[in-house]
C-alpha cells in the first residue's frame, strides 16, 4: 500500500500483483487495460451484429420481396425490428462502449501516468452490467412477437402500447437493456472523471492533459448531465408498458411529446458525447504525424467545453414538426446553427496544425484526415436540418438518414479505426500490417460515400425513411430512384466485404505482427513511455510530468519529440 511509501517516489505498480488464473485474468480482472479490451471486443462483436442488420434491410430496400441471402424473407415487422436495433446497437452498444468505455479505460490511466483507475472494482462492475444489457437486447429477438420495432427513438404511443407495436415483450426488454447500459456508463463515467481529476501524475497541470483525455472527460460529464431525465423517462415508459400508467397517453392526461423532449434532451448531447472522444483521438494522431504542436490547445479545449454546454440547448430541433410552438422552433434553429461554430473551429485548428508540418501518411493519419473531411459533410448538411423551415420538408426523409450517418460513421467507425490503428502497437506490443490496413482504409472510405451520397439525393427527392417496400409507392419507386437504392446497397456490400481484411489483420497481428517497441511513433504522451503492452500497474516507476503533450519539433532539442516525463 502507498502509505508505507508515501515519501519521495511512489512504488512500482506491478510488483504487488500476484499471478492470476485464466478466468480472473480475462473475465474477472480489475485491470483497466483488460476491461478496455473487454469493452473493445464486445463493441466490435456488436458492430458485426449491427452491420448484419444493415445488410438485411438494405438488401430488402434494393431488392424488395426477394429473400435475403443469410436471412430469408424480410417481413414488415422484421424490417422494423432490424432498423430499430441497428440504430440502438450502433449507438449504445458500439459507439459508446468503444469510443468512451474502451478507449477511456485504456487511455485515461496511461495518459495521466497512473497505475489504474481510481475505482477498479466499479470499473469491472460497469463492464458486467454492460454485458448483461447486451445479452438482454439480444434476447429480445427471441421472445414472443420478436424484437422491438418502434425506431431507436422509441416514441410513444407506438412504443407504449402492445396493440400498436404488436410486440408484447420486445419494447420492455429493449428499454431495460438501454437503461442498464446507461447505468453501466454512469458508473464508468464517474470513474473516468474522478480518475482524471485526482489521479494525475505529479506535475501534470490542467493544460498538460492530452486532448484525448480532456475530450473523454468532457464527454463523460455531458453524458452524466444529460442521461438523468431519460433514465426517469425510461422508468415512466416502462410503467406505461407494463402496469398501464398513462404518462405518455394523451387520453389519460399524459403527453407523448414529453418523451420526445426527455429522449432528445439526452439524445442530442449524446451525439457530442461520442463525437468528442473521436475529436480527441484525431488531435493526438494529427500532432504526432505532422510533428507539430497542436495549433491552439486552449482553443480546442474551450470550444469543446462550449460545444458541451451548447449541446444542451439544441434538442428541440428534432421536434420541429411535432407541434412545438414556431417561436420556440426559431430559438432552437438559432442554437442549432450556432453549435456548428465550435465544431468548425476544431476542424480549422486541426487543419492549421497540419499546415507546415512534416506529414506522414500512416494508417492512423489517413483515418484522422478522413474523419475531418467526412465529418465536415455531416456538419454542413446539418445546417439544412437545423433551419426549421427547411426541416419541415426534409424531416424523416433519407436526407436525415444520410446526414446523421455522415456524422456517426466518421465518429463511430472512422474515429474508432483511427484509434485502434494508432494505439494497437501499445495494446498488443505489435504492429498491424500496413498494406492491408491501407487497402481496408480506401475501400471502407470510398464505399461509405457510395452508400450515403445517393441517400442524400433520394431524401431530397422526398424518399421517406420509414418505408419497408417502395414498390407500394409508385411515385417513390421510379427506376431512377430504385437504381440509387441499389447503388447504395451495393456500396454497402463492398464496405462489408472489406471488413474481414481488418478483422483478420487485427487478430493475426495481435499474435504475429512485427514487434513495435515502447514508442513506435515517437510520441510525447505518457502511454508511450511505458512498455508495450503495459504490465499490470503500467509503469515501472510512475512518471512525473514536466511539460505539455504536444512539444514536437522543438528548436531547443535534437530529437523532434519531447516526452512529457523527460526531465530535460
Amino acid at each position: 500500500m502507498a502509505e508505507s511509501h508515501a515519501h519521495a517516489h511512489e512504488p512500482h505498480g506491478h510488483a504487488h500483483h500476484e499471478p492470476e488464473g485464466w478466468f480472473k485474468h480475462y473475465f474477472w480482472s480489475t485491470d483497466h487495460k483488460m476491461i478496455a479490451k473487454q469493452y473493445l471486443l464486445t463493441g466490435m462483436l456488436m458492430g458485426v451484429v449491427g452491420a448484419y442488420f444493415a445488410y438485411v434491410f438494405r438488401m430488402q430496400l434494393a431488392f424488395p420481396g426477394k429473400p435475403v441471402p443469410g436471412y430469408g424473407m424480410v417481413t414488415g415487422a422484421d424490417y422494423n425490428a432490424l432498423i430499430t436495433n441497428h440504430g440502438a446497437v450502433m449507438i449504445f452498444w458500439v459507439a459508446m462502449p468503444v469510443l468512451i468505455a474502451a478507449f477511456g479505460n485504456y487511455l485515461i490511466p496511461l495518459m495521466i501516468g497512473a497505475d489504474d483507475m481510481v475505482f477498479p472494482r466499479l470499473n469491472r462492475l460497469s463492464y458486467q452490467i454492460f454485458l448483461v444489457s447486451a445479452i438482454i437486447l439480444g434476447a429480445s429477438f427471441f421472445v414472443q412477437g420478436g424484437a422491438f420495432g418502434g425506431a431507436w427513438t422509441s416514441y410513444p404511443p407506438l412504443s407504449a402500447k402492445a396493440e400498436y407495436n404488436l410486440t408484447p415483450l420486445g419494447p420492455s426488454l429493449w428499454l431495460i437493456a438501454v437503461a442498464l447500459e446507461f447505468v453501466a456508463f454512469l458508473l464508468g463515467g464517474i470513474n473516468f472523471v474522478t480518475t482524471a481529476m485526482n489521479a494525475r501524475a505529479p506535475g501534470m497541470k490542467a493544460f498538460d492533459i492530452p486532448m484525448a483525455v480532456w475530450m473523454i472527460v468532457i464527454a463523460s460529464i455531458m453524458f452524466m448531465a444529460s442521461v438523468g431525465p431519460l433514465v426517469a423517462g425510461a422508468v415512466m415508459l416502462l410503467f406505461d408498458q407494463l402496469i398501464g400508467t398513462g404518462f405518455f397517453d394523451p387520453d389519460r392526461g399524459g403527453d407523448p411529446v414529453l418523451w420526445q423532449h426527455l429522449f432528445w434532451f439526452f439524445g442530442h448531447p449524446e451525439v457530442y458525447v461520442v463525437l468528442l472522444p473521436a475529436m480527441g483521438f484525431v488531435a493526438e494522431i494529427i500532432t504526432v504525424f505532422s510533428r507539430k504542436k497542436l495549433f491552439a490547445y486552449k482553443t480546442v479545449l474551450y470550444t469543446s467545453i462550449g460545444t458541451g454546454v451548447l449541446s444542451f440547448f439544441v434538442w428541440a430541433h428534432h421536434q420541429f414538426i411535432a407541434g412545438i410552438d414556431p417561436r420556440m422552433a426559431n430559438v432552437f434553429s438559432v442554437t442549432t446553427v450556432l453549435i456548428s461554430i465550435p465544431i468548425a473551429e476544431m476542424c480549422f485548428v486541426y487543419i492549421a496544425t497540419l499546415y507546415g508540418g512534416s506529414i506522414t501518411f500512416s494508417v492512423p493519419m489517413l483515418w484522422a484526415l478522413a474523419f475531418i473531411g467526412e465529418f465536415l459533410v455531416g456538419g454542413v448538411t446539418g445546417i439544412f436540418l437545423g433551419a426549421s423551415g427547411a426541416d419541415i420538408y426534409f424531416h424523416d426523409t433519407y436526407f436525415v438518414v444520410a446526414h446523421f450517418h455522415y456524422t456517426f460513421f466518421p465518429i463511430a467507425i472512422i474515429g474508432t479505426f483511427a484509434g485502434i490503428t494508432y494505439w494497437f502497437p501499445k495494446m498488443y506490443g505489435r504492429h498491424m500490417n500496413e498494406l492491408a490496413n491501407k487497402v481496408h482504409f480506401w475501400i471502407t472510405t470510398v464505399a461509405f460515400n457510395g452508400i450515403f451520397i445517393p441517400l442524400f439525393i433520394l431524401g431530397a427527392s422526398g424518399d421517406h425513411r420509414r418505408i419497408f417496400d417502395y414498390s407500394n409507392f409508385p411515385e417513390l419507386a421510379t427506376p431512377e430512384m430504385q437504381a440509387m437504392r441499389v447503388f447504395a446497397t451495393v456500396s454497402l456490400l463492398v464496405l462489408l466485404a472489406a471488413q474481414p481484411i481488418f478483422l483478420v489483420n487485427f487478430f493475426y497481428s495481435m499474435f504475429k505482427g512485427k514487434q513495435a517497441g515502447a514508442n513506435p511513433w515517437n510520441a510525447n504522451t505518457l502511454e508511450w513511455q511505458c512498455p508495450s503492452p503495459p504490465p499490470h500497474g503500467n509503469f515501472d516507476v510512475l512518471p512525473d510530468v514536466y511539460r505539455g503533450p504536444y512539444e514536437y519539433s522543438s528548436p531547443d532539442r535534437a530529437d523532434d519529440f519531447w516526452p512529457q516525463n523527460s526531465p530535460s
Binding site: A199, I243, F247
Partner: protein
C-alpha cells in the same frame, strides 16, 4: 484487493471518495430533476390534479420529513465521531440513522396502504402515477442508502475505512434534500 496508487492520489486536493460521491449526486440530481420537471409541467397543465393531491396525507408526510431530518442529524454526528477516530460511536450513530430510514419506510407503507385501499393506485390517473413514481424512486434511494450504511457501519465498528462515514453521510443528506422537494410538490401544492 490492493488499492491502486491512483486511488490514493489527490491532484485536486479533494479526497477521491468524496469527489466521486459528489459526481454520483450530480448524476442523481438530473434523474430526479427530469422526473420533477415532467411532473411540474403536467401539474401546471392540469389544475384538476389539486383535487387528487388533496387526498394525500400531509401529516404523515410532515412526520416523515421530521424523521429524515433527524436521521441527517445522526449522520452528521456519526461523521463527527469518525473524524475524532471513534469508529464505534460512528457505527452506533449510523445504525440510529438506519432506524430513521426504517421509520420513514414504515410510515410510507402505512400511507400507501391507505391510499391504495381507497382506490388511488398508480394507474388511477396522472397525479397518482407521478406520486408513486417519484416517491417510489426516492424510497429506493432510502433503502439503498440504508443498506450501504449497514456495510459502512460494520467497517467503522472495526475502525476501518472511517472516511466512508462522511461519504455515506453526504449521500444521505442528498436523499433527505430530495424529500424536501418532493414533500411540498406532492403533498402541499394545491
Amino acid at each position: 484487493m490492493v488499492k491502486p496508487i491512483a486511488t490514493t492520489r489527490s491532484a485536486t486536493g479533494v479526497p477521491t471518495g468524496r469527489l466521486a460521491v459528489w459526481w454520483v449526486i450530480a448524476s442523481e440530481i438530473v434523474i430526479f430533476g427530469g422526473l420533477l420537471a415532467s411532473y411540474v409541467m403536467h401539474r401546471l397543465g392540469h389544475p384538476e390534479w389539486a383535487t387528487y393531491a388533496a387526498h394525500t396525507n400531509p401529516w404523515a408526510g410532515g412526520l416523515n420529513t421530521l424523521v429524515l431530518l433527524t436521521s441527517s442529524l445522526t449522520a452528521v454526528l456519526a461523521h463527527n465521531a469518525a473524524e475524532r477516530g471513534n469508529g464505534k460511536r460512528a457505527a452506533n450513530l449510523l445504525m440510529l440513522t438506519c432506524v430513521g430510514a426504517l421509520t420513514f419506510l414504515v410510515v410510507k407503507s402505512f400511507e400507501w396502504y391507505h391510499e391504495i385501499s381507497e382506490g388511488f393506485t398508480i394507474t388511477a390517473n396522472g397525479f397518482w402515477s407521478f406520486y408513486y413514481c417519484a416517491a417510489g424512486l426516492h424510497g429506493i434511494h432510502v433503502i439503498a442508502g440504508a443498506i450501504i450504511m449497514l456495510f459502512v457501519a460494520a467497517d467503522a465498528r472495526k475502525n476501518k475505512e472511517l472516511q466512508r462515514v462522511e461519504l455515506i453521510g453526504i449521500y444521505w443528506h442528498f436523499v433527505d434534500l430530495v424529500w424536501i422537494f418532493l414533500f411540498p410538490l406532492l403533498y402541499i401544492a394545491k
